[in-house]
Structures are given as structure tokens and as C-alpha cells.
């Protein structure tokens, strides 16, 4: 469509209809419908423990936020995730670089990776409980383990996918190999690396909930389970919503970093 025809068709659609089409409005409308259906079922069931009304859940959120309890648990879980990701990335990225570049190293290390990878972080929880006991170390261990594999695999794939011609171009300019790795391979692999980090974030955020649910004295996963034990369902829902929001925010953060640091690799379609 040419610019002229677009503006022409826009002029024909009334202002109100256009406003109603905005993504923000559609979002609100859909969630409002969802809340209405939920409220209807809640009123019909009339069991505030089994299904509290949206209002009750909302009040629980406000209350937990006001008492700061919501934020306490959120920050604890986020802190654990940040720590785990740092550890996982600090090991996985350099290792992935080396494994991607040097086939011999890959041949030696890869089988062990492939043997451990299918054993999800969650499957480690019982053994890890025995080693670490209930506390901070357990979630961090599980999350680090969970984030490690996607980051490693993604880094290796990113390095392998670096255009050979870029390296050749640098070689023909006489650039030494070490410089080529730091100034060509790493920047070229950066988009893939950030995708790997996104996956690592998502995987470890799933793991944190599982780990905290079972074996931690704090954090959002723990809170969900704690309130279930007390049959305070609105609070359970409040924390579940928090888990969702935090998951979305951390993902958006990395996506924002991707756009900022690797503008040339922008993906037109939302992944």
C-alpha cells in the first residue's frame, strides 16, 4: 500500500473505531471479558477458597504489595535468578566459544553435555536437597544447572553460524587469529548469544518456582505453596500472577538489550 492510500483509508475509518483497535485497548477488553467470566463462575460456585472472585484476588495483591511481602519474595527470587544466570553464563559462554571454534574440544566435552542435558534441573532436586538441604543454595544450584545448557548450546550454535566470509575478510586484512575471535567472532555471534540468554532466563525462571516450591524457605515459589497450605487462595493467585509478570518483565529486558546492542539483527516478527 502506498503512503497516500494508507492515509486515505485511515481517514475513512472513524476515530472511535480506530481507538478501539489499538493493542492496549484490545488487551484491556480481553482481560475484562476474562475477569467477567471468572467472576461469574466464582459467584456461582460461592466457595471463596476454591475460587475467589477477581476482586478478592486483586485485593490480595494490593494488600501483599502494601505490606511489601510481595516485593520481598519477588526480589529474593529475582536475586537468585540473577546469581544463577551470572554463574551459568560465566561458565557456558566461554566454554561455548571454545567448543564452537575447536572441534576437538567439542568432541571431548559434548558427549558429557548430551548425557546430562536430558536430566532436567528439576530431576536433580532430590539429590540436591540431600547435598544442600533446604535453603538458598538449592534454588541457585538448580537454576544454574537449568540455565547452563540452553546458554551453552545456543552459544555453540551462534559461533558455528558466524559467516565464514567475515572471518576470511579479517584474515585478508592480516588480522591475527586472536583478534579475529574477539573482534569478529564474538560480535557476530552476539545476537545468537542473546537469544540463548533469553532461553536461559526462561528455563531458570521455571526452575526457580519448582525449586522454591519444594526446597526453599523464601521466594515466590515458596509463597505460593505457603499460602496454599493456609488455604488462602487469593494470596496464592496473587503470587502466581507475580510469577507471570516477573517472567514477562525479565524476558522483555533481555529482548530490549537485544534491540539495543544488536540493532542489525532485529527480528521483525515477535518471536
Amino acid at each position: 500500500m502506498t503512503a497516500a492510500s494508507v492515509t486515505a483509508s485511515r481517514a475513512r475509518v472513524p476515530l472511535v473505531r480506530r481507538l478501539l483497535g489499538q493493542p492496549a485497548f484490545v488487551y484491556v477488553r480481553t482481560m475484562a471479558v476474562f475477569a467477567a467470566v471468572w467472576a461469574a463462575i466464582a459467584v456461582w460456585k460461592a466457595n471463596p477458597v476454591l475460587l475467589p472472585t477477581p476482586l478478592a484476588a486483586f485485593e490480595a495483591v494490593i494488600e501483599l504489595a502494601r505490606s511489601l511481602e510481595l516485593f520481598e519474595h519477588a526480589f529474593i527470587s529475582l536475586g537468585r535468578m540473577a546469581l544463577s544466570l551470572s554463574i551459568a553464563a560465566a561458565i557456558a559462554i566461554p566454554l561455548g566459544l571454545v567448543m564452537g571454534l575447536y572441534r576437538r574440544v567439542d568432541a571431548v566435552i559434548d558427549p558429557l553435555i548430551e548425557l546430562l542435558r536430558p536430566i532436567s534441573g528439576i530431576a536433580w532436586i532430590p539429590l540436591a536437597l540431600f547435598i544442600f538441604g533446604i535453603g538458598n543454595a538449592l534454588p541457585v544450584f538448580i537454576m544454574t544447572y537449568a540455565a547452563f545448557f540452553p546458554i551453552l548450546i545456543g552459544t555453540i550454535a551462534g559461533v558455528r553460524a558466524v559467516d565464514r566470509r567475515l572471518v576470511d575478510a579479517a584474515r585478508t586484512m592480516g588480522v591475527p587469529m586472536r583478534r579475529i575471535v574477539s573482534h569478529v567472532v564474538v560480535p557476530a555471534a552476539l545476537p545468537a548469544l542473546l537469544v540463548a540468554l533469553r532461553l536461559g532466563v526462561a528455563t531458570s525462571w521455571t526452575a526457580v518456582v519448582a525449586a522454591e516450591l519444594i526446597g526453599a524457605p523464601s521466594g515466590v515459589g515458596y509463597a505460593v505453596e505457603w499460602y496454599r497450605g493456609l488455604l488462602m487462595t487469593p494470596q496464592v493467585m496473587a503470587f502466581i500472577a507475580t510469577i507471570g509478570v516477573l517472567g514477562y518483565l525479565t524476558d522483555s529486558l533481555i529482548r530490549g538489550l537485544t534491540t539495543k546492542f544488536t540493532p542489525w539483527a532485529a527480528d521483525p516478527e515477535r518471536p
Partner: protein, 288 residues
């Protein structure tokens, strides 16, 4: 071993490259590759070619005839299986800035601006040795101006058109002040009109109105015959399976060349002659 024993163009003339010293030499070069199933393929067989100072030599041939292999050998990105590749009589042992390369898909660094790309070889390679920041800045400025991209310094490759990207690739090359320019089908990815413009630009940047002793030596690969005749001093025609030198044709069309050159009667005659040399192979490539 010069190419005197290989058929030449019919009209009597002085070869444009006669008398110039030889810079690059491929001598009885063969290149074999191992295939994944264990067999071997021969990309080049007993290939010999001299490239002289300041000449614009174009290699033409059907797809898969090994032209890119020749370029890779001259660039030092690959080593011959047998035979020798030399620059100024010294064996070529690897890539280097004195033999700059322009690749077909430009190979620009997407995370660098135009300026960053052009500066790259000076910053990180031997061509920049002895240059301080100011000296580097000047060289980069000159290279960007030379290719006609002044004003686009801060743009990123993904913001540029194909023609502009090719200019950046050239500027990046020229900043290192190479003695030899190796170009692998650099205009193939461009549309026909842009291609004609850039052919003119290429000759200008190369310095077609300067004497041969002061020009850079160019080895240019293409499969487009009209492009070859327009640009070249000499054309090396290759055959395929395995890659061999079929003929070396002189192109005595006057310089400087431009739109009028394409209408020159000798232009047509040369193009026809070269086409007749490779037509059969090109046909066979479409049915096998």
C-alpha cells in the same frame, strides 16, 4: 611459464599488458578437495597464469569452473595441492593486506558503521602499523571519499543499499593500500543498472587513466562476459570439471572506458568470441 602457448584473440595488436613485470604467478597449480563421502574432486588441474603489474585481469568461466578457487589461492585463503602461487616471486603462505579481497556478499561487519568497517584493517591488522589515530583517520576519510560515500560515515550496513555496501567493501580494501585487488564476482548481487554504474566507478577508483606502473593490479572474477570485456585488459577463459585455462584474450579497447565503449564494434566481436569459447559448457551445465 607465460600464457604464450594458449590461443589469443585474432586481431593483430599490442597486448595491453605487454612488457609489464609479472606480480602474481600461478604455476602448474592443482587443487583437490576431499568430499564427505571420501572421494576427491579436482577443482583445478595444471593451471598456470601470470598476472602483470597494473593490469586489470578478468577470469571468466561457467559456474563451478574453479574461478573462486583461483582467487582463494591468490588470496592465500587456501593452499594449492601441487604447484606454486607466488607474489613477486615469493611463495604465498597465507592471507595478507597487500592482497586485498572483495567478496561477492561484501562480508561487511554488521556491528560496525561504514567508518568502523573501513577502519577495521587499519585498527587491527598490519596495514595500520606505524599510523597513529590521526593518520588512521585520514586514510579512512580518503578511502570513503574515494568510493563516493562521504556523508554516510555513521550508517550501518543494514541501512545501506547493495551498491552502497559494495562501495564500503571497496573502501575497506583501499584503506589498507593493497598492491593487488582480488574481487570475487563483486557486482553479481546487484541489479543490472546499479551494476553498470559500479563498473564505471570501479574503473575510476582503480585509476584507469593512470599509467600501468602506478596502478594497482586487479584480478576480477565474473561470469558476465560483457562485464569482463568492459573492465579487462586481459581475459582468462576457464573450462570446468576440472578447472583449466582455455584461453587468454587481450582486450585492446581504449581507456578511459565508458558508455561509448559498450557500443564499440570490437566490444561486440570480443564478447561473441568469448561466448563461443564457453557456450558448450554453459549449455551442458543446464542439462546435467
Amino acid at each position: 611459464m607465460t600464457a604464450t602457448d594458449i590461443p589469443r584473440a585474432t586481431s593483430p595488436h599490442e597486448s595491453p599488458s605487454a612488457g609489464l613485470p609479472v606480480r602474481l604467478r600461478l604455476e602448474a597449480v592443482s587443487k583437490r578437495f576431499a568430499l564427505p563421502d571420501g572421494k576427491e574432486t579436482i577443482a583445478l588441474a595444471d593451471f598456470s597464469l601470470d598476472i602483470r603489474q597494473g593490469e586489470f585481469l578478468v577470469i571468466v568461466g561457467p559456474s563451478g569452473c574453479g574461478k573462486t578457487t583461483v582467487l582463494n589461492l591468490l588470496a592465500g585463503l587456501q593452499m594449492p595441492s601441487s604447484g606454486g602461487v607466488t607474489l613477486d616471486d615469493r611463495a604465498i603462505e597465507g592471507p595478507g593486506p597487500e592482497r586485498g579481497v572483495v567478496f561477492q556478499d561484501y562480508a561487511l561487519f554488521p556491528w560496525h558503521t561504514v567508518w568502523g568497517n573501513v577502519e577495521f584493517g587499519l585498527r587491527h591488522g598490519p596495514a595500520g602499523r606505524g599510523l597513529d589515530a590521526t593518520g588512521r583517520k585520514e586514510r579512512v576519510r580518503q578511502a570513503i571519499d574515494l568510493v563516493g560515500l562521504a556523508g554516510s560515515d555513521m550508517k550501518f550496513p543494514h541501512q545501506l543499499s547493495g551498491g552502497m555496501r559494495q562501495r564500503v567493501a571497496l573502501a575497506r580494501l583501499m584503506a589498507n593500500e593493497p598492491a593487488v585487488l582480488l574481487m570475487d564476482e563483486p557486482l553479481a548481487a546487484l541489479d543490472a543498472q546499479t551494476r553498470i554504474i559500479l563498473q564505471d566507478e570501479l574503473l575510476r577508483i582503480w585509476g584507469q587513466d593512470r599509467p600501468a606502473a602506478q596502478r594497482r593490479t586487479v584480478v576480477f572474477i565474473t561470469h558476465a562476459i560483457d562485464e569482463a570485456v568492459f573492465l579487462a585488459d586481459r581475459i582468462a577463459v576457464m573450462t570446468t570439471h576440472p578447472g583449466r585455462l582455455k584461453a587468454v584474450i587481450d582486450v585492446p579497447l581504449p581507456r578511459p572506458r565508458g558508455d561509448a565503449t559498450r557500443a564499440h564494434p570490437q566490444f561486440q566481436a570480443l564478447s561473441q568470441h568469448i561466448w563461443s569459447l564457453i557456450r558448450d559448457e554453459a549449455y551442458r551445465a543446464t542439462v546435467t
